[in-house]
Homo-oligomer: 409 residues x 2
């Protein structure tokens, strides 16, 4: 019922959780409760699945202190889902929304979630239902178009940068090749964040890592990677490498993971499972070890690989800027929904880098849905295996304070 | 020259780095510089290898501000080594120490390092050299005998507990079986620290993970693990599992990693490489997936594994208690060396749990060297796959403040 003073609304969280997706949830809930008067706000558990199953909580009944505690908790407090609704699924969603007299749909997620938002809204409109859908952005991959950056990315980047700082010092103490596989299916933003670790290393530390970064935007070959890693190792006796899980083979165009594995699992969206397995890192380490012992003539090289895993999106050490912005996009969605805004996707635009300032703008769902933003060329160094200073200036205000480290080697 | 008012000394760091091993280094250095008068203190780069190669820094020449910054940095600022000296190696070490008129040897490390300390001292004595060796304890494995706990453990335990908190919420949002492989070759203390995550979960969260812990102290079989994991999964729809990399097969007595892998790498100490590979986690995940789909009849189970990797020992977020104690054992070593103490290993004894208080005591090197402390029976639950409240009370004062989390599912 757009135009009504008290519409009823539903909110859900979708896709991979982040360290701050609950800030967006609670930002929306608190603003709604403070502003809407008699309008109900339901939370659906496990995303669209919770809508069709009518598995709701009514936020009017939740203790305000619990809301505050949830906001500071990582992961998705309502639960999530990887379900991608087809037409029948959308029909069921629309039917449930109509049954509960709901005319506002808040959905927090990435580009798949924006698409779900769009499909549900279009289906409802085609059936004569009044429904305004608000997509609240979230993704550690930082790959939503029309956004300077996405809530969730800064906290994941913070974790990656901190991990690489300590890991580089570890690999300096016991020198070798250290490969770290970082999340990011299509976009290299999170892998690129590893480069921020270098800024933590002070003057006493020469040649801080990471020394090579492999991004999905720059396909390569296993052989080229081995040659490049061996060159760094031969020159300085160690090499810390950041590899995106989405790195592609330049010859076949396939994911390197697919080249290594014949039996890759796929999810409901048809995507190959990349996370939750150490295979890519292990296979890369094996290949580098063979190359170093063989062509590079290194007697007993120490080669190790770590796959950073789900802690990238759920480690409880969020970036303060990320918390603030995630809360803001949720709050703005509620505010605009209650001001009869027709709906869309909220985006973040950077209006100033020094001092750091952002503005929030609406875009049509179709402008965001299913589109993927990649690392722009100006963020990738000419070598293809590093970032530019421009990228570091872009990232620096987002990640919060990082440790400053020193050493004697 | 014991008895001299100004002996000369050398210090080095050995074995796997930790988040606080530099606190011990700088604690010793600062106390030495403040107390010794004209006695030199050399730092050997990369442990015993730096001694035989005479690769030293002279701490009298180091900017005091750099010392303070190094203390707060993770990993081993002097570098480390896995070399285990044989008799010829010890002869060369003793010759270098004699050449530089060094009569005090500080060595920061675990039980292998205590043994190196012992061998070098015995060799020097047999050759008529005056040498007092001080072993300064360090190990994330927490496996030194005669110690309540070891510097380095609390920070690693803090990282593991924080990671499990976020990871359990992540596995609650997208439910499935989540296996996390934790460091610890012989002792389960670090894997057991995952259980601390449950204390972070407040009343709104039921059945917080981890739900099963597999410790080296309790060998099991792959089949039993699958049955136990399936039972939790069938009951609550998810299961977070902490598995020690050192878990052993009860039937063969072998490491489970060895059962899975025919070609395991070994280091200079004859130890199989456990870290820096995702193999154990991946193989366990595959086995659990097959079991759930087969015998347990689950249609499409979500099973993921992460291997926590080197961040456990180098993530720059140390426990405050760990920092304080690591500094204290280093400082005490310098103090006692300058007070003509004959040498030995410094140990930590807990004198009170509430309020938390510790005392530092010396033990003979032979009492510590090459011995491994395991989790005592009173810390392991009767189920064999969990810890007792006694363990959580033991761990709680060590890890520092942990996040408090809430949710709606």
């Amino acid at each position: 019922m757009p135009g009504s003073s008290s519409p009823h609304a539903i909110i859900a969280q979708s896709g991979g959780p982040t360290a701050v997706i609950n800030q967006s949830l609670i930002g929306c809930v608190q603003r709604w409760l403070a502003t809407s008067g008699s309008g109900r706000l339901l939370g659906a558990r496990h995303a669209v699945r919770g809508i069709v199953n009518e598995d709701f909580i009514d936020f009017l009944t939740v203790d305000p202190a619990l809301l505050t505690a949830v906001a500071a908790s990582p992961s998705a407090a309502l639960g999530s889902s990887r379900d991608k609704p087809d037409e029948e699924y959308c029909r069921r969603i629309a039917a449930v929304l109509a049954k509960h007299d709901i005319s506002v749909f808040f959905y927090i997620g990435g580009n798949d979630s924006a698409d779900t938002c769009r499909i549900v809204a279009e289906f409802a409109h085609a059936n004569g239902q009044a429904l305004r859908a608000f997509h609240i952005p979230k993704t550690i991959d930082n790959d939503l178009v029309e956004n300077d950056h996405c809530p969730g990315y800064a906290s994941a980047a913070r974790y990656v940068a901190k991990l690489f700082v300590g890991d580089d010092l570890d690999n300096r103490a016991l020198p070798g090749v250290k490969i770290n596989v970082v999340m990011g299916r299509h976009a290299g933003f999170l892998t690129a964040a590893a480069a921020m670790a270098r800024s933590c290393n002070s003057s006493s530390i020469s040649e801080p890592g990471p020394h090579l970064l492999y991004l999905p935007e720059r396909p390569t070959t296993l052989r080229d990677m081995c040659v490049e890693i061996a060159a760094v190792y031969t020159r300085i006796g160690r090499c810390q490498v950041a590899v995106s899980e989405g790195i592609r083979d330049a010859e076949s165009g396939k994911l390197l993971t697919e080249v290594f594995e014949s039996h890759a699992e796929r999810d409901a969206h048809g995507n190959v499972q990349l996370s939750g397995s150490g295979t890519l890192g292990d296979q890369l380490a094996d290949a580098v070890r063979v190359f170093l012992k063989g062509e590079a003539g290194v007697a007993n090289p120490r080669v190790r690989a770590d796959t950073l895993g789900y802690a990238q999106r759920s480690f409880p050490d969020p970036s303060p800027v990320d918390q603030t912005e995630a809360e803001a996009v949720g709050s703005l969605a509620a505010e605009m929904a209650l001001a009869d805004h027709p709906g869309g996707s909220i985006t973040i635009k950077r209006t100033s880098n020094d001092p750091y300032e952002v503005a929030y703008e609406f875009r049509n769902l179709a402008a965001i849905a299913q589109k993927t933003r990649h690392m722009p060329d100006e963020f990738i160094a000419a070598s293809n295996h590093d970032v530019t200073d421009g990228f570091l200036q872009y990232l620096q205000p987002l990640v919060g304070a990082l440790p400053a480290v020193q050493g004697f080697i």
